[in-house]
Subunit: 226 residues, 2 copies
């Protein structure tokens, strides 16, 4: 089996991405990057998902991005609640963590190099508009170019591929795909502001986008909301 590194947050997207990587025949080395986010419950979700979905191994790397601040997810900034789809659809929200995906992919790149893997999976998504610059196809392409000059593997001619299979899917399409592949979404956590035991708020952008997608599919989101 070919090994890949998969960035596993514990959210709906990364769990689906895991199922896609498996369906393509990869052996998944899951990597959870703890970046000082408030929603640590996601990391516990990641652990369950890695176990149940059969990761070859699961590693955690912590990076305290709260030391540089600048985001509602890592800093003392309020998480917006109850925004309308229109409000969500333009601008870069305060939940944007500066350079977050660059940092996470960099660590994934190091991990891939250590285990000799050339494939990295990341569940970024540009459609259900989050407005995050580092979720766009041009970001993924630029990172792939960087990867191939940044590492020993690149110097030795082994190309690194950054797989972002969800990038052009809507949240509903992601869920549809995941259900076909047997993803148990009750294991996942998306909320930016869950309770300590993981009950979702239902009102932040992430909850609203997720709830709407399940509703559009005529399904009930299996996680707990307050």
């Amino acid at each position: 089996m070919i090994s890949c590194v998969l960035l596993l947050s514990g959210g709906l997207d990364s769990a689906t991405c895991f199922a896609i990587a498996k369906s393509l025949g990869y052996e998944v080395h899951a990597l959870t990057v703890l970046y000082g986010q408030r929603h640590l419950f996601e990391a516990e979700a990641a652990e369950k998902i890695a176990h149940i979905m059969g990761a070859k191994e699961h590693r955690y790397v912590s990076v305290n991005l709260n030391a540089i601040g600048g985001s509602a997810l890592t800093d003392e900034i309020a998480i917006p609640k109850g925004r309308s789809p229109e409000e969500m659809s333009h601008g870069i929200p305060v939940t944007y963590v500066p350079a977050r995906n660059t940092v996470m992919l960099s660590i994934a790149l190091g991990y891939a190099e250590v285990i000799g893997a050339s494939d990295i999976f990341v569940g970024v998504n540009a459609v259900d508009y989050s407005g995050y610059p580092d979720c766009r196809p041009e970001f993924i392409q630029a990172f792939e170019k960087l990867a191939n000059v940044a590492t020993k593997a690149g110097v030795e001619g082994r190309q690194t591929i950054i797989h972002a299979p969800l990038i052009a899917l809507t949240k509903a399409q992601i869920i549809e795909r995941g259900i076909k592949l047997g993803v148990d979404y009750s294991l996942t956590s998306s909320c930016y502001d869950p309770t300590d035991d993981g009950v979702a708020c239902g009102e932040c952008d992430a909850c609203q986008i997720r709830l709407r997608a399940f509703k559009d599919l005529g399904l009930t989101d299996p996680i707990r909301y307050r």
Copy 2:
């Protein structure tokens, strides 16, 4: 004054880079990334340098790259000692930390975005051959391209510039430059394997390259060696 972010390791190169940034009129926001390296003494050196050289602020971000291993600097791999210049001159050494500079520049990029800075200084050097892929000009160029699609600043049209003023200098040229700019090299630490109180081994690649450079200039390295 224009703000910049400067990656400050506490080594000779980053101290020189600091002096260069200051000489260009930048206000320096120093960032020390602690990546699970064994040579924590460098971080203490960074603190002294930031203070004495007048950093506007100095932040630390920790990222436990030892969780992914793969380097003599972060893992249980012996640090090579007493290698000849010829042995050092080819191949990628075991002290290479997979994706280290990618990770450090990513965090610097996040910090720059938070403080609204468009300039990042990094003391990478491609000459005194370390064989590190992420010290080459093509790496810096690729990172700069990535930076401009990865961030809110990039999306809004503010170009990020990665300054690597030492990239084409020999270690002796770096020291010459730093001395002209008043760098106190007694504050710096380069050894891969210092004692707990910072006495350098004199035999690892970093020590040997440094000692030879001072000697070539007819100078005595002011730090302590065992």
